[in-house]
């Protein structure tokens, strides 16, 4: 079961929800697909054990064979190539690595090259109940069983600074996951917005959790994010974060009813949570009631997709 946490609007609380959701799993994989600025590691404190470079395929030109016919430049949808007699000018920053230029070249003058654009890091999350950092409380004592024997794998994609193309790194961070039977649940923290990297993060998920906040911006971007999951035919549910009063929810509720998507949980606008966030402490430690909420969300999602 792959659950992607997305939002449309940035800063609604995607990461704090996604990380706590992962922390409530017995066995699972957490993937930070916000490759332009991965920050879930701050909450999950993983031990990174593996690093794998991510390359983009780029064209390499053999000018002995090139006839300056210009077919490659005509084909390139991203205007990464310009052909002038005897020369091809390549704008690496615009190339999406589709390889189309190589396919349309009739003189075999284009070979496949590689350009490093980022990295995938993988490791384990293993210091969850560090009682010195997170003093035990009654809520945790009650859930002790759910946390013993916990096994969580951590992954994150990192796009190199200055690079424009996040999609290949998002794709790479989702590739070659450990077998489903040993890690049945995958939580993906998507980038904010509604552009290509978000689509790539959500694509292939079984469920999409849309985190929003009770502001006009939150609702507006929720609608945009909803359009993406509709297009991708992925079932979705909503989590509303930072709610101060029941009144806050009126418009979001109306929208969700119209769209026939459930509101799976509501989190309060809470000083404790904000404080924990500022210290890199996961939500459920500051707000232990959240454990039950997260477990309920997971249960509900399971029910909805079966």
């Amino acid at each position: 079961m792959i659950i992607t946490v997305a939002s449309g609007k940035g800063g609604t609380g995607k990461t704090i929800i996604a990380t706590s959701l992962a922390l409530c799993l017995k066995k699972g994989i957490f993937i930070d697909a916000d490759v332009e600025e991965p920050n879930a590691y701050i909450f999950l404190k993983p031990e990174i054990k593996e690093k794998k470079p991510v390359f983009l395929n780029i064209p390499l030109f053999n000018f002995k064979k090139c006839t300056s016919c210009g077919k490659c430049a005509d084909f390139c949808q991203f205007k990464a190539l310009a052909v002038i007699p005897g020369q091809v000018i390549f704008f690496a920053g615009l190339c999406h690595g589709c390889g189309g230029c190589r396919m349309v070249c009739e003189s075999g003058a284009i070979e496949e090259g590689k350009r490093l654009i980022g990295e995938v890091q993988a490791g384990q999350i293993n210091q969850l109940l560090d009682l010195e950092v997170f003093p035990p409380n009654k809520a945790f004592a009650r859930h002790k069983d759910s946390f013993t024997g916990q096994r969580l794998i951590f992954r994150q994609g990192k796009l190199n600074p200055g690079e424009a193309l996040a999609v290949p790194v998002v794709r790479a961070v989702k590739e070659d996951l450990p077998p489903k039977n040993s890690y049945p649940v995958v939580i993906i923290d998507a980038p904010p917005g509604t552009s290509c990297p978000v689509v790539e993060a959500i694509n292939g998920s079984d469920y999409c959790l849309l985190v929003t906040e009770p502001t006009p911006f939150g609702l507006s971007d929720l609608k945009l994010a909803r359009e993406i999951v509709k297009e991708l035919k992925i079932p979705a549910g909503v989590v509303v974060n930072r709610v101060m009063a029941e009144d806050d929810l009126v418009e979001i509720r109306t929208y969700c009813q119209e769209e026939n998507i459930p509101i799976l949980a509501v989190f309060p606008f809470d000083r404790q949570i904000a404080y924990a966030y500022s210290k890199g402490i996961p939500l459920i430690y500051a707000y232990p009631e959240g454990i039950e909420v997260m477990q309920a969300i997971l249960k509900q999602i399971k029910k909805e997709i079966n």
């Binding site: 210009g70 205007k79 310009a82 052909v83 002038i84 000018i89 704008f91 615009l94």
Partner: protein
């Protein structure tokens, strides 16, 4: 000699378009025969690489010089590699710019005088 002028409209009395990559039209003028040709550039419909695409068009048309307002770094790289000279237009119509060009009164530009994506900003104004 074949010269291109970036133009807002399709005739010699049209105001020049200060943007290179995102200009509306090109007036191509053969200074020997006085023949003109109009190219639709539709530079505003391109999301990225407008300058590159526009420069590529001029390379294909065997232009020797272009008169325009501002050229970004990518377009300039192509124009220079192709040996197309870039001249700074004056704020006027196409005709006057051609006259001034022939009189040698327009300045040659050899370095980009606009940032990447500057053509988008000028459209906002």
């Amino acid at each position: 000699m074949k010269v291109a002028v970036t133009a807002r409209e399709k005739d010699l009395n049209s105001a020049i378009d200060p943007r290179f990559g995102r200009c509306f039209y090109f007036m191509l003028v053969d200074l020997k025969s006085n023949e003109t040709e109009i190219i639709d550039n539709l530079g505003e419909d391109v999301s990225g690489g407008a300058g590159i695409q526009t420069a590529q068009k001029l390379v294909k048309k065997n232009i020797e010089a272009v008169i325009t307002g501002s050229v970004g770094p990518n377009a300039m790289e192509i124009l220079q590699a192709a040996g197309i000279k870039v001249y700074q237009a004056v704020e006027s119509n196409v005709k006057e710019n051609l006259t001034k060009f022939q009189a040698g009164e327009l300045n040659l530009i050899t370095t980009p005088n606009a940032d990447k994506k500057a053509g988008l900003k000028s459209w906002w104004k």
